[in-house]
Protein backbone atom coordinates (compact mmCIF):
# COMPACT_ATOMS: atom_id res chain seq x y z
CA UNK A 1 0.00 0.00 0.00
CA UNK A 2 1.02 3.59 -0.51
CA UNK A 3 1.94 5.58 2.55
CA UNK A 4 -1.03 7.43 3.98
CA UNK A 5 -1.14 11.00 2.72
CA UNK A 6 -0.71 13.70 5.33
CA UNK A 7 -4.04 15.16 6.41
CA UNK A 8 -4.84 18.42 4.70
CA UNK A 9 -4.83 21.43 6.99
CA UNK A 10 -8.53 22.17 7.13
CA UNK A 11 -10.50 23.16 10.19
CA UNK A 12 -12.79 20.14 9.91
CA UNK A 13 -10.06 17.51 10.22
CA UNK A 14 -10.04 17.33 14.04
CA UNK A 15 -13.79 16.72 13.96
CA UNK A 16 -13.31 13.98 11.35
CA UNK A 17 -10.57 12.41 13.43
CA UNK A 18 -12.68 12.41 16.58
CA UNK A 19 -15.62 10.95 14.67
CA UNK A 20 -13.42 8.26 13.09
CA UNK A 21 -12.03 7.40 16.53
CA UNK A 22 -15.52 6.77 17.87
CA UNK A 23 -16.39 4.67 14.83
CA UNK A 24 -13.20 2.71 15.44
CA UNK A 25 -14.19 2.18 19.08
CA UNK A 26 -17.58 0.87 18.05
CA UNK A 27 -15.85 -1.63 15.76
CA UNK A 28 -13.37 -2.73 18.43
CA UNK A 29 -14.69 -6.30 18.49
CA UNK A 30 -13.78 -6.94 14.83
CA UNK A 31 -10.64 -8.89 13.98
CA UNK A 32 -7.82 -6.32 13.60
CA UNK A 33 -7.24 -7.07 9.90
CA UNK A 34 -10.88 -6.62 8.95
CA UNK A 35 -11.13 -3.48 11.07
CA UNK A 36 -8.02 -1.87 9.65
CA UNK A 37 -9.10 -2.61 6.10
CA UNK A 38 -12.46 -1.03 6.76
CA UNK A 39 -11.02 2.02 8.49
CA UNK A 40 -7.95 2.54 6.32
CA UNK A 41 -9.33 5.52 4.43
CA UNK A 42 -12.20 6.44 6.70
CA UNK A 43 -10.47 9.51 8.10
CA UNK A 44 -9.91 10.92 4.61
CA UNK A 45 -13.40 10.03 3.59
CA UNK A 46 -14.90 11.73 6.64
CA UNK A 47 -12.76 14.80 6.09
CA UNK A 48 -14.19 14.90 2.57
CA UNK A 49 -17.74 14.72 3.88
CA UNK A 50 -17.02 17.40 6.45
CA UNK A 51 -15.50 19.61 3.76
CA UNK A 52 -18.81 19.59 1.88
CA UNK A 53 -20.47 21.54 4.63
CA UNK A 54 -17.79 23.27 6.69
CA UNK A 55 -18.83 24.36 10.12
CA UNK A 56 -21.44 21.66 10.65
CA UNK A 57 -20.29 18.89 12.98
CA UNK A 58 -20.10 15.45 11.38
CA UNK A 59 -22.53 14.00 13.89
CA UNK A 60 -25.12 16.40 12.42
CA UNK A 61 -24.40 15.27 8.87
CA UNK A 62 -24.00 11.56 9.48
CA UNK A 63 -25.72 10.79 12.76
CA UNK A 64 -24.05 9.24 15.83
CA UNK A 65 -20.71 7.49 15.09
CA UNK A 66 -22.07 4.28 16.64
CA UNK A 67 -24.92 4.19 14.12
CA UNK A 68 -22.45 4.97 11.36
CA UNK A 69 -20.32 2.03 12.52
CA UNK A 70 -23.33 -0.30 12.55
CA UNK A 71 -24.22 0.72 8.99
CA UNK A 72 -20.62 0.27 7.94
CA UNK A 73 -20.58 -3.21 9.42
CA UNK A 74 -23.69 -4.39 7.65
CA UNK A 75 -22.78 -2.89 4.27
CA UNK A 76 -19.26 -4.29 4.44
CA UNK A 77 -20.71 -7.74 5.14
CA UNK A 78 -19.32 -8.09 8.68
CA UNK A 79 -20.97 -9.53 11.77
CA UNK A 80 -23.16 -7.15 13.81
CA UNK A 81 -21.97 -6.02 17.21
CA UNK A 82 -23.29 -7.67 20.34
CA UNK A 83 -20.77 -10.42 21.00
CA UNK A 84 -19.27 -10.89 24.42
CA UNK A 85 -16.18 -8.93 23.38
CA UNK A 86 -18.19 -5.83 22.49
CA UNK A 87 -20.15 -5.94 25.72
CA UNK A 88 -17.03 -6.43 27.82
CA UNK A 89 -15.36 -3.42 26.23
CA UNK A 90 -18.56 -1.35 26.27
CA UNK A 91 -17.64 2.34 26.56
CA UNK A 92 -21.18 3.26 27.58
CA UNK A 93 -24.40 3.11 25.62
CA UNK A 94 -24.03 -0.63 25.36
CA UNK A 95 -26.71 -1.66 27.79
CA UNK A 96 -28.62 -3.23 24.88
CA UNK A 97 -25.61 -5.34 24.03
CA UNK A 98 -25.26 -6.52 27.60
CA UNK A 99 -28.88 -7.61 27.49
CA UNK A 100 -28.27 -9.46 24.24
CA UNK A 101 -25.26 -11.17 25.81
CA UNK A 102 -27.29 -12.24 28.82
CA UNK A 103 -29.92 -13.76 26.53
CA UNK A 104 -27.25 -15.58 24.57
CA UNK A 105 -25.80 -16.95 27.76
CA UNK A 106 -29.01 -18.47 29.03
CA UNK A 107 -30.19 -19.88 25.68
CA UNK A 108 -27.92 -22.95 25.94
CA UNK A 109 -29.49 -23.67 29.32
CA UNK A 110 -32.85 -24.03 27.61
CA UNK A 111 -31.59 -26.57 25.08
CA UNK A 112 -32.11 -29.70 27.26
CA UNK A 113 -35.68 -28.49 27.83
CA UNK A 114 -36.12 -28.46 24.08
CA UNK A 115 -34.86 -32.05 23.91
CA UNK A 116 -37.65 -33.09 26.29
CA UNK A 117 -40.23 -31.00 24.43
CA UNK A 118 -39.39 -32.46 21.04
CA UNK A 119 -39.74 -35.98 22.46
CA UNK A 120 -43.20 -35.06 23.79
CA UNK A 121 -44.13 -33.61 20.39
CA UNK A 122 -43.03 -36.72 18.54
CA UNK A 123 -44.97 -38.83 21.05
CA UNK A 124 -48.00 -36.62 20.35
CA UNK A 125 -47.72 -37.25 16.64
CA UNK A 126 -47.38 -41.00 17.11
CA UNK A 127 -50.35 -40.98 19.48
CA UNK A 128 -52.45 -39.11 16.92
CA UNK A 129 -51.41 -41.49 14.15
CA UNK A 130 -52.18 -44.55 16.30
CA UNK A 131 -55.44 -43.02 17.53
CA UNK A 132 -54.44 -43.43 21.16
CA UNK A 133 -55.22 -41.33 24.21
CA UNK A 134 -53.33 -39.44 26.89
CA UNK A 135 -52.03 -42.65 28.45
CA UNK A 136 -50.35 -43.77 25.23
CA UNK A 137 -48.92 -40.27 24.81
CA UNK A 138 -47.38 -40.32 28.31
CA UNK A 139 -45.98 -43.80 27.73
CA UNK A 140 -44.44 -42.82 24.39
CA UNK A 141 -43.05 -39.62 25.91
CA UNK A 142 -41.40 -41.63 28.69
CA UNK A 143 -39.72 -43.82 26.07
CA UNK A 144 -38.73 -41.01 23.71
CA UNK A 145 -37.31 -38.49 26.21
CA UNK A 146 -34.17 -40.53 27.01
CA UNK A 147 -33.65 -41.20 23.31
CA UNK A 148 -34.01 -37.49 22.46
CA UNK A 149 -31.64 -36.43 25.25
CA UNK A 150 -29.08 -39.05 24.26
CA UNK A 151 -29.30 -37.88 20.66
CA UNK A 152 -28.96 -34.25 21.74
CA UNK A 153 -25.83 -34.98 23.78
CA UNK A 154 -24.39 -37.04 20.94
CA UNK A 155 -24.92 -34.13 18.49
CA UNK A 156 -23.46 -31.63 20.93
CA UNK A 157 -20.31 -33.72 21.39
CA UNK A 158 -19.09 -33.08 17.85
CA UNK A 159 -19.46 -29.97 15.69
CA UNK A 160 -19.63 -32.11 12.58
CA UNK A 161 -22.91 -33.61 13.81
CA UNK A 162 -24.66 -30.25 14.02
CA UNK A 163 -26.46 -30.58 10.66
CA UNK A 164 -28.08 -33.80 11.91
CA UNK A 165 -29.26 -31.97 15.01
CA UNK A 166 -30.67 -29.11 12.94
CA UNK A 167 -32.54 -31.56 10.70
CA UNK A 168 -34.01 -33.26 13.78
CA UNK A 169 -35.10 -29.89 15.21
CA UNK A 170 -36.71 -28.80 11.96
CA UNK A 171 -38.61 -32.09 11.76
CA UNK A 172 -39.72 -31.65 15.37
CA UNK A 173 -40.99 -28.11 14.68
CA UNK A 174 -42.89 -29.33 11.61
CA UNK A 175 -44.38 -32.12 13.74
CA UNK A 176 -45.36 -29.54 16.35
CA UNK A 177 -47.21 -27.52 13.73
CA UNK A 178 -48.90 -30.69 12.51
CA UNK A 179 -49.93 -31.75 16.02
CA UNK A 180 -51.39 -28.31 16.70
CA UNK A 181 -53.27 -28.54 13.42
CA UNK A 182 -54.68 -31.97 14.37
CA UNK A 183 -55.63 -30.71 17.82
CA UNK A 184 -57.49 -27.64 16.57
CA UNK A 185 -59.05 -29.46 13.60
CA UNK A 186 -60.24 -32.40 15.68
CA UNK A 187 -61.59 -30.38 18.60
CA UNK A 188 -64.98 -29.52 17.14
CA UNK A 189 -65.98 -31.20 13.88
CA UNK A 190 -68.63 -28.70 12.83
CA UNK A 191 -71.80 -29.33 10.84
CA UNK A 192 -71.78 -29.07 7.08
CA UNK A 193 -73.39 -25.62 6.94
CA UNK A 194 -70.55 -24.06 8.88
CA UNK A 195 -68.01 -25.84 6.76
CA UNK A 196 -69.39 -24.09 3.71
CA UNK A 197 -70.03 -25.55 0.32
CA UNK A 198 -66.87 -27.41 -0.46
CA UNK A 199 -66.19 -27.75 -4.14
CA UNK A 200 -63.06 -29.84 -4.31
CA UNK A 201 -62.56 -29.47 -8.02
CA UNK A 202 -64.95 -32.37 -8.61
CA UNK A 203 -67.66 -32.35 -11.28
CA UNK A 204 -70.15 -31.03 -8.71
CA UNK A 205 -71.70 -27.71 -9.71
CA UNK A 206 -69.86 -28.00 -13.00
CA UNK A 207 -66.78 -26.46 -11.42
CA UNK A 208 -64.34 -29.17 -12.42
CA UNK A 209 -60.85 -27.76 -12.76
CA UNK A 210 -61.86 -24.43 -11.18
CA UNK A 211 -59.23 -23.38 -8.66
CA UNK A 212 -60.15 -19.73 -8.14
CA UNK A 213 -62.84 -17.15 -9.00
CA UNK A 214 -62.26 -13.63 -10.31
CA UNK A 215 -65.22 -11.27 -9.97
CA UNK A 216 -65.39 -8.10 -12.08
CA UNK A 217 -67.55 -5.03 -11.75
CA UNK A 218 -69.99 -4.19 -14.62
CA UNK A 219 -67.50 -1.66 -15.93
CA UNK A 220 -64.79 -4.26 -16.16
CA UNK A 221 -62.69 -3.53 -13.08
CA UNK A 222 -61.35 -6.51 -11.11
CA UNK A 223 -62.90 -6.73 -7.65
CA UNK A 224 -61.20 -7.97 -4.51
CA UNK A 225 -62.54 -9.66 -1.38
CA UNK A 226 -65.94 -10.52 -2.86
CA UNK A 227 -67.82 -12.87 -0.50
CA UNK A 228 -69.75 -15.58 -2.34
CA UNK A 229 -72.72 -17.59 -1.02
CA UNK A 230 -74.86 -20.26 -2.66
CA UNK A 231 -78.69 -20.35 -2.93
CA UNK A 232 -78.99 -21.65 0.64
CA UNK A 233 -76.78 -19.00 2.15
CA UNK A 234 -73.76 -21.28 2.56
CA UNK A 235 -70.38 -19.72 1.90
CA UNK A 236 -68.94 -21.06 -1.31
CA UNK A 237 -65.48 -22.31 -0.57
CA UNK A 238 -63.29 -23.53 -3.36
CA UNK A 239 -60.57 -25.65 -1.87
CA UNK A 240 -58.22 -26.40 -4.70
CA UNK A 241 -55.40 -28.70 -3.75
CA UNK A 242 -53.66 -29.06 -7.07
CA UNK A 243 -53.34 -26.99 -10.20
CA UNK A 244 -53.73 -28.42 -13.70
CA UNK A 245 -50.09 -29.45 -13.71
CA UNK A 246 -50.50 -31.44 -10.48
CA UNK A 247 -48.61 -28.91 -8.35
CA UNK A 248 -49.93 -28.24 -4.83
CA UNK A 249 -51.78 -24.95 -4.35
CA UNK A 250 -51.64 -23.06 -1.07
CA UNK A 251 -54.28 -20.45 -0.30
CA UNK A 252 -53.33 -17.36 1.65
CA UNK A 253 -56.15 -17.20 4.21
CA UNK A 254 -58.34 -14.12 4.79
CA UNK A 255 -59.64 -13.40 8.27
CA UNK A 256 -62.66 -11.62 9.63
CA UNK A 257 -62.30 -8.90 12.25
CA UNK A 258 -62.64 -11.59 14.93
CA UNK A 259 -59.63 -13.44 13.54
CA UNK A 260 -61.60 -16.34 12.05
CA UNK A 261 -60.69 -17.69 8.62
CA UNK A 262 -63.00 -16.56 5.84
CA UNK A 263 -62.92 -19.18 3.09
CA UNK A 264 -65.30 -17.60 0.58
CA UNK A 265 -63.51 -14.34 -0.23
CA UNK A 266 -62.52 -14.08 -3.88
CA UNK A 267 -60.24 -13.94 -5.66
CA UNK A 268 -58.22 -16.14 -3.33
CA UNK A 269 -54.56 -15.24 -3.06
CA UNK A 270 -52.71 -18.41 -3.91
CA UNK A 271 -49.22 -19.72 -4.29
CA UNK A 272 -48.24 -22.86 -6.11
CA UNK A 273 -45.36 -25.16 -5.32
CA UNK A 274 -43.67 -25.82 -8.62
CA UNK A 275 -41.19 -28.64 -9.02
CA UNK A 276 -37.87 -27.02 -9.82
CA UNK A 277 -35.90 -28.11 -12.86
CA UNK A 278 -33.59 -30.47 -10.98
CA UNK A 279 -36.57 -32.18 -9.32
CA UNK A 280 -34.74 -31.48 -6.09
CA UNK A 281 -36.78 -29.14 -3.91
CA UNK A 282 -39.58 -26.85 -5.02
CA UNK A 283 -40.16 -23.26 -5.97
CA UNK A 284 -43.10 -21.30 -4.59
CA UNK A 285 -44.71 -19.07 -7.16
CA UNK A 286 -47.62 -16.66 -6.72
CA UNK A 287 -50.56 -17.64 -8.93
CA UNK A 288 -51.15 -14.64 -11.20
CA UNK A 289 -54.67 -13.53 -12.12
CA UNK A 290 -55.83 -14.53 -15.61
CA UNK A 291 -55.77 -11.97 -18.37
CA UNK A 292 -59.43 -11.33 -19.19
CA UNK A 293 -61.41 -8.68 -21.00
CA UNK A 294 -64.91 -8.79 -19.49
CA UNK A 295 -67.74 -7.47 -21.72
CA UNK A 296 -69.37 -4.15 -20.83
CA UNK A 297 -72.86 -4.95 -19.52
CA UNK A 298 -75.92 -3.07 -20.69
CA UNK A 299 -77.62 -1.24 -17.86
CA UNK A 300 -80.66 -3.11 -16.50
Amino acid sequence: MTTPPPPAPTATVPDAEAYAARVRAALADLPPAAREDLLADLGDHLAEVAGEDPGRPLADLLGPPEDYAAELRSSAGLAPAGGAAAAARGPGGLRGHRWVTATREFLPELVPGWWVLRAALLAGLLTAVLGGGVLLWLLLTAVLVPLSVTFGRWVRADRGRRPLGIIADVVAVLVAVGVLGLASGGSGSSPVVQEGVVVPGSGRYGLEGVTNLFPYSPDGRPLTDVLLYDQDGNPVELRPDWDAGGNPITRVPRYDTGGRVVGNAYPQEQTVDVDSAGGDGTTVRRVPPPVVRPPALQPR
Binding site: G43, D44, E71, R221
Partner: protein
Protein backbone atom coordinates in the same frame (compact mmCIF):
# COMPACT_ATOMS: atom_id res chain seq x y z
CA UNK B 1 -42.63 2.82 1.82
CA UNK B 2 -39.39 2.41 3.69
CA UNK B 3 -36.79 2.41 0.96
CA UNK B 4 -33.80 1.54 3.16
CA UNK B 5 -34.64 -2.17 2.95
CA UNK B 6 -34.95 -1.96 -0.83
CA UNK B 7 -31.68 -0.06 -1.04
CA UNK B 8 -29.85 -2.81 0.83
CA UNK B 9 -30.63 -5.25 -1.94
CA UNK B 10 -29.60 -3.05 -4.85
CA UNK B 11 -26.82 -0.91 -3.44
CA UNK B 12 -24.08 -3.09 -4.97
CA UNK B 13 -25.71 -2.78 -8.36
CA UNK B 14 -26.26 0.96 -7.98
CA UNK B 15 -22.65 1.58 -6.93
CA UNK B 16 -21.32 -0.54 -9.81
CA UNK B 17 -23.54 1.37 -12.24
CA UNK B 18 -22.32 4.74 -10.96
CA UNK B 19 -18.67 3.66 -11.26
CA UNK B 20 -19.27 2.22 -14.73
CA UNK B 21 -20.32 5.69 -15.78
CA UNK B 22 -17.18 7.28 -14.36
CA UNK B 23 -14.58 6.48 -11.69
CA UNK B 24 -15.30 8.15 -8.38
CA UNK B 25 -14.20 8.61 -4.77
CA UNK B 26 -16.38 7.79 -1.77
CA UNK B 27 -18.27 10.98 -1.24
CA UNK B 28 -18.55 11.55 -4.98
CA UNK B 29 -20.31 8.18 -5.33
CA UNK B 30 -22.70 9.09 -2.49
CA UNK B 31 -23.51 12.39 -4.18
CA UNK B 32 -24.09 10.83 -7.58
CA UNK B 33 -26.41 8.17 -6.10
CA UNK B 34 -28.41 10.88 -4.33
CA UNK B 35 -28.55 13.02 -7.45
CA UNK B 36 -29.89 10.00 -9.34
CA UNK B 37 -32.81 9.86 -6.91
CA UNK B 38 -31.59 7.44 -4.21
CA UNK B 39 -31.90 10.24 -1.67
CA UNK B 40 -32.00 7.91 1.35
CA UNK B 41 -28.65 6.31 0.66
CA UNK B 42 -26.38 6.40 3.71
CA UNK B 43 -22.78 7.54 3.60
CA UNK B 44 -21.60 4.57 5.68
CA UNK B 45 -23.50 2.12 3.46
CA UNK B 46 -21.77 3.42 0.35
CA UNK B 47 -18.34 3.50 2.00
CA UNK B 48 -18.81 -0.06 3.31
CA UNK B 49 -20.07 -1.25 -0.05
CA UNK B 50 -17.06 0.27 -1.86
CA UNK B 51 -14.67 -1.45 0.58
CA UNK B 52 -16.48 -4.79 0.22
CA UNK B 53 -16.61 -4.64 -3.59
CA UNK B 54 -12.91 -3.71 -3.60
CA UNK B 55 -12.11 -6.62 -1.27
CA UNK B 56 -14.12 -8.94 -3.50
CA UNK B 57 -11.96 -7.93 -6.46
CA UNK B 58 -14.63 -6.07 -8.43
CA UNK B 59 -12.97 -2.65 -8.22
CA UNK B 60 -9.62 -1.01 -8.87
CA UNK B 61 -8.50 1.85 -6.71
CA UNK B 62 -5.97 4.66 -6.96
CA UNK B 63 -5.12 7.76 -4.95
CA UNK B 64 -5.36 11.19 -6.52
CA UNK B 65 -3.58 13.95 -4.60
CA UNK B 66 -5.50 17.13 -4.04
CA UNK B 67 -4.10 20.42 -2.84
CA UNK B 68 -7.48 21.78 -1.73
CA UNK B 69 -8.51 19.00 0.61
CA UNK B 70 -7.55 15.47 1.59
CA UNK B 71 -6.16 13.04 -0.97
CA UNK B 72 -8.90 11.15 -2.69
CA UNK B 73 -9.13 7.42 -3.19
CA UNK B 74 -10.81 6.79 -6.50
CA UNK B 75 -12.57 3.54 -7.36
CA UNK B 76 -13.32 2.15 -10.81
CA UNK B 77 -14.63 -1.07 -12.32
CA UNK B 78 -12.31 -3.82 -13.48
CA UNK B 79 -13.36 -6.73 -15.72
CA UNK B 80 -14.80 -8.67 -12.77
CA UNK B 81 -16.81 -5.61 -11.73
CA UNK B 82 -18.13 -5.08 -15.23
CA UNK B 83 -19.16 -8.75 -15.41
CA UNK B 84 -20.90 -8.45 -12.04
CA UNK B 85 -22.68 -5.31 -13.22
CA UNK B 86 -23.94 -7.06 -16.35
CA UNK B 87 -25.15 -10.09 -14.35
CA UNK B 88 -26.82 -8.13 -11.57
CA UNK B 89 -28.27 -5.66 -14.05
CA UNK B 90 -29.99 -8.46 -15.95
CA UNK B 91 -31.28 -9.95 -12.67
CA UNK B 92 -32.61 -6.57 -11.61
CA UNK B 93 -34.39 -5.98 -14.92
CA UNK B 94 -36.27 -9.27 -14.78
CA UNK B 95 -37.05 -8.72 -11.09
CA UNK B 96 -38.36 -5.20 -11.70
CA UNK B 97 -40.43 -6.38 -14.67
CA UNK B 98 -41.98 -9.12 -12.54
CA UNK B 99 -42.88 -6.71 -9.72
CA UNK B 100 -44.24 -4.23 -12.28
CA UNK B 101 -46.52 -6.85 -13.76
CA UNK B 102 -47.77 -7.70 -10.26
CA UNK B 103 -48.56 -4.04 -9.65
CA UNK B 104 -50.58 -3.57 -12.84
CA UNK B 105 -53.89 -5.01 -11.57
CA UNK B 106 -53.54 -2.98 -8.36
CA UNK B 107 -53.23 0.19 -10.35
CA UNK B 108 -56.48 -0.68 -12.18
CA UNK B 109 -58.35 -1.15 -8.93
CA UNK B 110 -57.10 2.06 -7.42
Amino acid sequence: MDTTQLLKGVLDLAVLAVLDDKDGYGYDVVRRLREAGLTDVGDASVYGTLRRLFQAGALTSYVVPSDAGPHRKYYGLNDAGRAQLARSGADWRSFATAVDSLLRPIREIA
